[in-house]
Amino acid sequence: MTTDTVLDALPPEHGEEHDVHHIRKTAMWVFLGSECIFFGSMISTFLLYRTTTGDGPGAELFNVPFTSASSFVLLMSSLTMVLAHHAFERHDTRQGRVWLSATALLGATFLAGQIFEFTEFVHSGLTLSTSPFGSSFYMLTGFHGAHVAIGVMMLTAMAILSTSGRLHHGRGLNVELVGLYWHFVDIVWIVIFTVVYLLQV
């Protein structure tokens, strides 16, 4: 049985809820589709300038084992996010809150790793204005980091709302929408990790 079939089987008084559900989810997918173009342009720009390091450092600064660990953390946060969504769908608020908090914690860990990495790079002479390579690298990874930070804030807010009983089953769609955003942040990093880090070493 598909989602459509289940929703279509709802009583008439749920029709409006069905429409709102569909509209909000459609809007989220449109947003994510546009974000693909946004990050696609950023990645293209990085590839364009990947060798224009001038007199400054380049990809030799990358610490692939460290970034691999960060990538693993972000990848696992997608697992905890989907488990949170699953728990809320099953009306298990306590379990959902645990997984939401775990996701926020993993996201914060990824951000801490990125801040550490940026600090190391700046100390090694790679700043935003060192070279086109530096500018495009910080723009791409910085914007991704900003997306992760926004996601962590949304996850934290949802975990707090759930403690006060304001994230009941009827708000399950909110968890689903935040989940879609979070998984998107993860898949963008899958591309960045491959193209920016692994292929440049």
Partner: protein, 95 residues
Amino acid sequence: MTLAATTHPTPRLYWMIALILAVVTAAEVGASYVDAVEPVLVPLLLVLGAVKFGIVVAFFMHLKFDRPLFRSLFLVGVFGAIPLFVVVLLTFGAL
């Protein structure tokens, strides 16, 4: 019967998917250090990255089970980024 029970995979499947993603990531990192795969490293990493991308989108984002409309909206974005990528690189003579 809940919506979750009818349309979403089980937590067990999610854990298995996470394990597959971890193994693929380890393979990616390992491959980037092995000299023997150097000639095919770029296509290999792109394929492995695409596999991870597809698994997350299909199972964690439920696109495999959700409405075809959502799949179309997302694919417009993904496949819209590819010509953008080519045009940018062609414009600046990088291709």
